[in-house]
Symmetry: C2
Subunit: 757 residues, 2 copies
């Protein structure tokens, strides 16, 4: 009987096809064997491969990889569901999903009001395609997880609602447009919410949750803050309203309560300081005291309290979140253990054998080297028993997260090709020269000189030609280093600066050549690229100064989590941009510098004639398309002049209630999200500062030392702080050049910890 | 032989007159007795009072009070030095010192350039008086502490140098003025440094130390930050310099490297956003990306990193500081114990008897009630042995820092006067009414109605008269509360809101009466005061909402430490104001609104004609006297428009290098000091959030419960965070009204912890 058929028979005998939870694996195998023998007459040795073995390993691998990446998906444990789930987690599908997410979001560029207008049917078609992809992905997900879990999960409901509403909106909008009526594509504000609600938006959801958790506390401080503004406004009205003071433009100063409130709110953002105070201050010295007290209380103290409240709730929440993640991880690892466990002796503790473990790890991380896997096993099975218990097994997810970069100490290709030349005295001297500190210093000096030359006028032919000299010098540097260091070591995955250097220098070389070839048709764009590349090259100097390197490394390490915040900001910006475009599109027009249209002086809107908005040439700060809107929102985030943009700008061309939109944006983005961002950077830095090695890491290190692994010459321990739990990177990096003898290395430098400032 | 003479004789026999360190007190007494008997023939029982007993207690009391207030003074332990030291610590001398410090600082108001000019001889005379006072205080200090400690202490050297330099400067300046030459009073910048260097400036020195400790780390981040600005400037020069773009005023855009650097530095402060970007953005969409990346990196990330670095070093330093303070406190208490210790039995542990302890505590805190002292003793001597060992004794300083406010449950005065009336049914009903929650709500409603009335036009006679109704209502409220609550309880030291209410209402009553009496000569000032008082009354509503009360209480608790920062800011502002006045005085003139002088349009300086500075009416933002200077510095701290003030203002009227002054101010105040301030507020809030009762406090509470002290009905525990170590306040407060029976109180409310948010 072919194994496939046999499997079917066994499944029929045992409908779920899976070992019931908690039933030890060896006993289950006995049971299945007996079943197969009794009902089908299959001898036990023929069963070996088919009795759910592969499914077992798949299931265990899924548990481990979920634990490793902190996925909390209650997937169905049926073999076909597990296979579907493995497919669901495939990177290509994720990339596809995010690609269509991006397409969906960037439709705003082509929809009215568009940067590049496309006909409605085109954008609609693309949008329907996107919706289709999202629906398929959702159905895939529904097939993977348990039915009741699917309907209990708010994020799935959200996606369904968003997709339905979008479809409804598209139909209505299409119908309205077809009948030539005015229509609003209101469902566009829902688009970025998909980013939050897809399974992969874990980090983003966490960021939103941390905001939601901070909200109640922020709310009370905000109410008190508003109360303070109300009281100060009332006082200002009473003190200043009746004095007949005037603003610069001659309007009465501080006579309307609402105006005062708004002005004082703007003063908190410091955007109208000191203008708002000048009329009163000009009238009398003492009124300045009023404003100073106001600024002290509301700008400094309240804003610090906002940060404190946000930071505190962020920290508290983060702790709770990490605790939950650790618990969930342990739970998943215990399940994986339950799937693979065997009983070696009667009544003994259940264990996982090395063979099963190896098979599992190969499934979870196929590209792990054998040496690496053996290292991890020897850490887990430190008593060399050939099997590990539950406690040791549970560590696996964390062990896999410790990134170990092994770079084999290979001889230099030149040494293999012509050993006599490469080992000759002049070659060795060259090696020593390149490795000397002076070499780095000379090149730092060259970079500085280059910086001066860049600053000079490049139209001077001598300066222009000097660029070739610098390029040659940089290329020489790279070649020399490649001569001394093994190329695969030089271009290893984590040698950020080597990659950076090489890419920049080669791009600069190409761009400069193109530029000089097309000398007479020299395009501005290529020149711009050349300039940017030249300047970027200067950044390399940072790497030479240890203190700078440490700060930069910390920043690079918290980079991925900053990207999560980038997503969060984009979600919020997108929503505000969509609403802003509906409210303010076409109210302000930008005319090119060269335009001779008279309307240019007032941004195409007579209402703006003579306003600061027009005078300051802010016409391009408008909501006429999605790109302008985003840039305007960045300006509003920076806060400065936002009262001008709003007040003499958008409130003038629409209605005074336009303030609501702008103030809301300020509260959400500046008071809440930026504070969360600062809290996040603070916390990430503190984690970096207060770094302690985990037990696991220590035992790994000890093991590395014990094993005296020939590959590990320098071990760099780096702590990676991503938004979620803490991961460790053990970074084996050979900075030792090949032409030096390994035995000359000082043992004292074996362990270097970069993470301490 | 009279005791005084006897004392002298004994002193002669034993020159130091003091027990050598470490020699137990009982043995020392035996030794002195023997000495007195052998050499002077004085019987031991006559010696009791004079054998250095009082000096012992003085010394121990000084140690305890130094430990209590964290003073670290290495005073001489000779009896006369100890007495001098006690005088040195007298509050009146400290008040006198700070008064003259204030006089010295406020001389700037009267010196050229003056707000109120005084002749030079007058200010000089006052200054000499101040210097004299400071010198006397320093000499007093020199007498108190050991000679070598005095000269090793940098703060004493600082004071001597400051005093000498000031004197030298005054002589030179006086001579120059007498000879009609131009002179600069450069020593005025040294004045605020005295605030830092006097013995009492402990907190301020700590704040400066925390800045100094953060400096190295800030320095590296700052260098990287400057490097980033340099790189971006170079890129901006290359990208934008050659495009022939112009600023709004027609000047070429981004053509000079130095100008670009400065503009981009200002952009970090956000002060010139989005103006600096508009010409480039108007030319091309993509240049906005350059500025957005710049803002993201330099404004958001680097500024957060500054805060992180400052906060981190602040926290680390604070921890170390607190550890040192605790060690020093323990050390001093051990010394105090060494002075007072006795050996009750041969070979037993040295102890301090209750009698000595009582005498000591009476010396340290004369105004402590007997009940309070007994409570503290019973906490220390929890086994009731009549004496305590070293461990229990060392706690004393902390115990004394736990503020226990005991308010005796006295009968209401009216009850004593006419008990039958006060205990009658209508009276009791009134009591119940006033204590009802509805009473508070009705008055909150009245306050809100009042707020609306204040907002309305007060020239309407109905509105003006309504003020009397509100005043009457508020006075009625206070009278009713005084009827129900015992007056001394109502006006107890910690009943902040009762005091606040009463003072505001009574002041408002007086001011309103004065205002209506002088109806026809109604002065604007009195009306202003009336208005402010009316509005302040509204603040009371905050107290009714628990959440608000908690936030406000936290703010009030961190208030004293914010005052330390106030001093720090004043020191820095004063120095910058003095320098700024020398550099920029008289360059810009302010003309009153009514002035018809044509120079008004350009602030009296033709160079300013047509500049934004003049257009925005900033003429009063000048360095023409110390008050204007301070207000201008506040505006510069708020940062907005500082480039206008500087650029089209002070750089125009003086020289481009005026930037150095302004940028320096920005770096020191905004980047360093404000970040320390934010760090401080954050830390203070976190301490408030993560409040845990100390062991000592818990045992004190238990003791209070055990003793069933009749006085304590509600115990409020409040944690006080001052800049230095942590102090505790145990607040016994009777909110129970007198006309209610004590037995009706619910036991469950006995302990209420206000400090949890």
């Amino acid at each position: 009987m072919p194994p496939g058929r046999l499997l079917g028979e066994v499944f029929r005998a045992c409908p779920t096809g899976r070992r019931p939870r908690g039933r030890p694996r060896t006993r289950w195998r006995d049971y299945i064997s007996r079943l197969a023998w009794e009902r089908l007459g299959v001898p036990p040795d023929e069963l070996e491969e088919v009795a759910g073995e592969r499914e077992d390993f798949n299931l265990a691998a899924i548990y481990v990889s979920d634990a490793q990446y902190n996925r909390n998906v209650y997937f169905d444990t049926l073999p076909q569901a597990v296979r579907l789930y493995m497919l669901y987690n495939h990177w290509a599908l994720k990339v596809l999903l995010y690609f269509f997410m991006l397409v969906n979001l960037s439709l705003a560029i082509f929809e009215d009001p568009a940067v590049y207008p496309l006909p409605i049917w085109a954008t609609m078609l693309v949008e329907i395609l996107c919706l289709l992809i999202f629906t398929i992905r959702l159905i895939h997900y529904a097939k993977v997880i348990l039915r009741d879990k699917f309907w209990k999960d708010p994020k799935n409901i959200c996606i369904i609602v968003i997709l339905t509403l979008t479809l409804v909106d598209m139909i209505i909008y299409g119908a309205l447009k077809a009948a030539n009526y005015y229509g609003v594509r209101w469902s566009r504000v829902l688009r970025p919410l998909l980013l939050v609600n897809v399974t992969e938006g874990r980090q983003l959801r966490r960021a939103f949750r941390s905001i939601r958790n901070a909200l109640p506390q922020i709310f009370y401080v905000f109410m008190l803050f508003m109360f303070s503004i109300l009281i100060f406004s009332l006082m200002a009205l009473k003190l200043l309203g009746k004095r007949g003071l005037t603003n610069i433009n001659g309007t009465p100063y501080f006579t309307s309560y609402l105006e005062i409130m708004f002005d004082l709110y703007v003063l908190v953002t410091t955007a109208n300081s000191p203008d708002v105070m000048m009329p009163a201050y000009n009238a009398n010295f003492f009124f300045a005291v009023f404003f100073i007290v106001y600024i002290l209380i509301n700008t400094y103290i309240f804003m610090s309290v906002f940060l404190a409240v946000v930071y505190n709730s962020y920290k508290k929440y983060l702790k709770e979140e990490v605790r939950q993640l650790v618990r969930a991880k342990r739970h998943k690892m215990v399940r994986a253990f339950g799937v693979l466990q065997e009983q070696r002796e009667e009544g003994g503790e259940p264990v996982v054998t090395q063979a099963s473990w190896n098979q599992l790890v190969r499934l979870v991380q196929p590209n792990l080297s054998n040496a690496h896997r053996e290292l991890l096993w020897s850490v887990s099975d430190d008593k060399n028993q050939g099997a590990i218990g539950k406690v040791a097994f549970v560590q696996l997810a964390d062990l896999l997260n410790i990134e170990i970069i092994t770079i084999k100490s290979r001889p230099h290709p030149l040494q293999s090709l012509c050993p006599s030349l490469y080992q000759s005295a002049p070659s060795k001297l060259l090696c020593q020269l390149v490795q000397h500190r002076a070499f780095v210093m000379v090149y730092d000096l060259i970079i500085l000189v280059n910086a001066v030359f860049i600053g000079l006028d490049e139209e001077n032919p001598m300066i222009a030609n000097s660029e070739w000299v610098f390029l040659a010098l940089y290329i020489l540097e790279i070649l020399l280093k490649l001569y001394v260091f093994e190329p695969r070591v030089f271009f290893s995955k984590h040698s950020f600066w080597n990659w950076f250097d090489t890419i920049i220098v080669i791009s600069a070389l190409i761009a400069t050549i193109i530029n000089s070839v097309m000398n007479h048709f020299s395009s501005r764009q290529i020149l711009d690229i050349v300039f940017i590349l030249r300047v970027l090259r200067l950044i390399r100097v940072v790497d030479s100064i240890k203190r700078f390197r440490i700060i930069i490394n910390t920043l690079i390490r918290i980079g991925p989590a900053i990207l999560t915040f980038g997503q969060l900001i984009i979600v919020v910006y997108y929503i505000f941009a969509m609403v802003g475009m509906e409210l303010f599109k076409g109210k302000v027009t930008f005319y090119e510098q060269s335009s001779t249209n008279l309307a240019k002086a007032y941004c195409g809107n007579p209402l703006l004639n003579g306003t600061d908005f027009a005078k300051l040439n802010y016409c391009k700060n408008n909501f006429n398309n999605v790109v302008s809107s985003f840039i305007l929102l960045v300006e509003l985030t920076v806060v400065n002049q936002w009262h001008d943009i709003l007040y003499s700008g958008f409130a003038t061309v629409t209605h005074i209630s336009a303030r609501i939109f702008f103030v809301l944006f300020h509260i959400i983005v500046v008071i809440v999200i930026l504070n969360i961002f600062v809290a996040f950077v603070l916390e990430a830095f503190f984690v970096e500062y207060s770094v302690d090695k985990s037990d696991l890491q220590t035992s790994l290190e000890r093991k590395i030392e014990e094993l005296e692994l020939a590959v590990a010459q320098y071990v760099t321990l780096q702590r990676v702080v991503s938004g979620g739990p803490i991961e460790w990177v053990v970074h084996f990096n050979i900075t030792r050049p090949i032409c030096e003898e390994p035995s000359k290395l000082e043992q004292g430098h074996k362990l270097r910890d970069d993470s301490q400032l």
